[in-house]
Assembly symmetry: C2
């Protein structure tokens, strides 16, 4: 990758190993053991020992609020046998996982480390529902939104209502996204929801905050996922059979937290910035992507993400679902292992799960959901209703 | 700086501007305006415009727990007129501020950014005392410590009791650290506590958890501090009269969160690792330091930090206070602007305040507390009772 002066600015970064725990629900799951299992899975997959690793970057949103536990960096390092390494936590709400990947990428790309682990972790299901609702609202602007009674669901409902009003979109036009996500999850052993749905099930699902229905939204769940990142030299020295995927772009774009402070609530400016920066870094364009593993937290966010990343014109994101483009056998598959909707959305872990699943796709190891011929993929993780957007472009090694 | 292969690994990084709000108490202080003021102060001091800056890294520990507000990266970027830049939050408990500095440093050193802002922010005084106590306990190991009734003060009390027992140290031997910090704060316009204390005031102060007295501990407070970091090329292009301090080392070391899991509770292994890594990066040794701006959260931590960083043998840290070495006119001044004890300890902001104050010292702008001839300084910020330790070595440019 070249900088603006035409000099080689950063080193190549590879995903050398991946690990994940099944997305789950359970009051007695202790976070450090979930994180340890994901980290060990990634280390085994990469063929590396604890002594090889010099940093651990953790993505988490609600450990302090729901679990009375901050300092997850050194906690998980200790639990995984990595005591002493550089370690800390990255927080960008629902985008925390990919934010940690971004920092891990930067550490390798910049030459500060040669081999690091990134772990995303979130536990939510041990906490009372009201506590979870309040904790999720901390992703929004508390002074301008949360303190006035807005929840994370109600803010997404505002976006969906605006979308339907401006573009005349009907509920059934959002349905293909949810139906395909549930279908894809059936073949993912680590997905939470293993229940196929059809249009009627979508339309008949419980209304949470109109027009958002249960089938527009992700489930509350727990999960941990991890990746090992390596420099090119170190990757070659590993001599093992694990994944070997290059991260050819890593970018973050932001916008105001409060929807009302944005120029146009239906334009995800942070996603547009993040995508454009990633395309520029990689020297690629939307048409080059074989997969777009996007942040389908709500069906309206799926539509807006497709538009912001340059795959559809404003108001036409839902058409990609209706026309089958975003299906597993379409031209631009999304949510290939179930997405946030059906694999589940353990908030601060989601961004790492997305990378793990995409690495499986690009390695030809995605089983029944394998996207044939997939070589290049974009992965996008969003914090809040679009305030922090982290985009990575991956390429088969 | 060279990597292990003898190649130039990373670029030089400079502190180009500094900003801070007065450390304060107040229920109606809104965090985003404190952060904005600190960021604008740093930008003005550096002579840079919003359009020049491409990233904002925020250090914060308790925004979600005490303020229902996460996502401080894009929130503060928006408040400071930097909407759109890469932004996220770093968390390492009381070491969050320096963790954010570390990531800002890495971004410039690695060639991913040329000009970034780092902001540390914490608000605590709007919350009930019990809530603050619980929030601070999230820096410890909740499962092994917090859930069993340990508070952050009680854990530090355990360390102090162990220290006094093992080394036969008497209460009055810790006093010089607190007395000097209070004296230094008198000349810092941004310090919270402006009250000189003597040995009697120290000895007579209220016992919090034996043997920790009020005068061994830092006050609860609010504050925000910020720095602008620049690459060498960009710094030269700025052409302004602001500070120009090189960061010659940046390192993180970690240890288990739980005190009982450590090989020796009185050896801060994370601090030793962090210090050794920093010395190795800079090619310097303890004797080269003109200032050690350390993490004097508790007087026992001051003693343990002096020992872990190589300035005193085990059990002899307090002697440096008794002999005047750590006084403002001694050979190794600490807490030069009041330290955590008297400037105040707005938790996630503290690590950035330490850097701001040290930059003032190395620029000859520390007023009545100016350490004469100060050219090289070590700055150390600790998360938990020693779980995350971030060390920077600064040199006058």
């Amino acid at each position: 990758m070249l900088n603006k002066h035409g000099e080689l600015a950063v080193r190549k970064v590879y995903i050398a190993g991946i690990g994940q725990t099944p997305v789950s629900k359970g009051e007695d799951i202790r976070g450090r053991y979930m994180a340890r299992d994901a980290i060990h899975g990634a280390m085994i997959s990469a063929g590396v020992e604890a002594g090889d690793i010099s940093a651990l970057f953790v993505g988490n949103m609600m450990g302090g609020i729901l679990g009375s536990q901050q300092q997850l960096g050194p906690l998980y390092a200790d639990a995984a046998g990595l005591r002493g390494v550089e370690a800390m936590t990255m927080e960008a709400a629902c985008g925390s996982g990919a934010a940690a990947v971004r920092i891990g990428y930067s550490a390798i790309a910049g030459g500060l480390h040669d081999l690091v682990v990134v772990c995303g972790m979130e536990r939510m299901t041990h906490a009372p529902r009201d506590a979870v609702t309040l904790a999720l609202a901390t992703a929004a602007d508390w002074e301008l939104e949360g303190a006035h009674g807005e929840s994370f669901i109600s803010l997404n409902a505002r976006l969906m209502a605006l979308y339907m009003d401006r573009y005349g979109t009907r509920p059934e036009q959002f349905a293909p996204f949810a139906i395909a996500a549930h279908a894809n999850a059936l073949n993912n052993p680590n997905a939470l929801l293993k229940k196929p749905i059809d249009l009627d099930a979508y339309l008949d699902s419980k209304v949470l905050v109109p027009p958002v229905k249960l089938m527009d939204a992700p489930p509350t769940c727990d999960g941990a996922a991890a990746i090992v990142l390596a420099s090119e030299d170190v990757l070659r020295g590993l001599g093992r059979a694990g994944v070997s995927i290059e991260i050819v772009a890593s970018a973050v774009g932001t916008d105001s937290l409060a929807i009302d402070r944005r120029a146009d609530p239906l334009k995800l400016a942070g996603a547009e910035l993040s995508s454009q920066r990633a395309y520029a870094q990689a020297g690629l364009k939307p048409g080059d992507m074989d997969i777009f593993e996007l942040h389908d937290a709500y069906t309206v966010i799926t539509a807006l993400s497709l538009e912001a990343a340059g795959f559809a014109k404003p108001g036409e994101g839902t058409r990609l679902g209706e026309e089958g483009v975003t299906q597993i056998d379409g031209d631009l598959p999304i949510a290939t292992m179930g997405g946030l909707k059906a694999r589940g959305h353990p908030v601060g872990a989601t961004g790492v799960y997305q990378i793990v699943e995409t690495a499986l796709q690009l390695s030809g190891e995605a089983g029944q959901n394998q996207v044939r011929g997939a070589e290049t993929a974009m992965v996008q993780n969003i914090g809040g209703t679009g305030a922090t957007v982290v985009t990575h472009i991956l390429r088969a090694g």
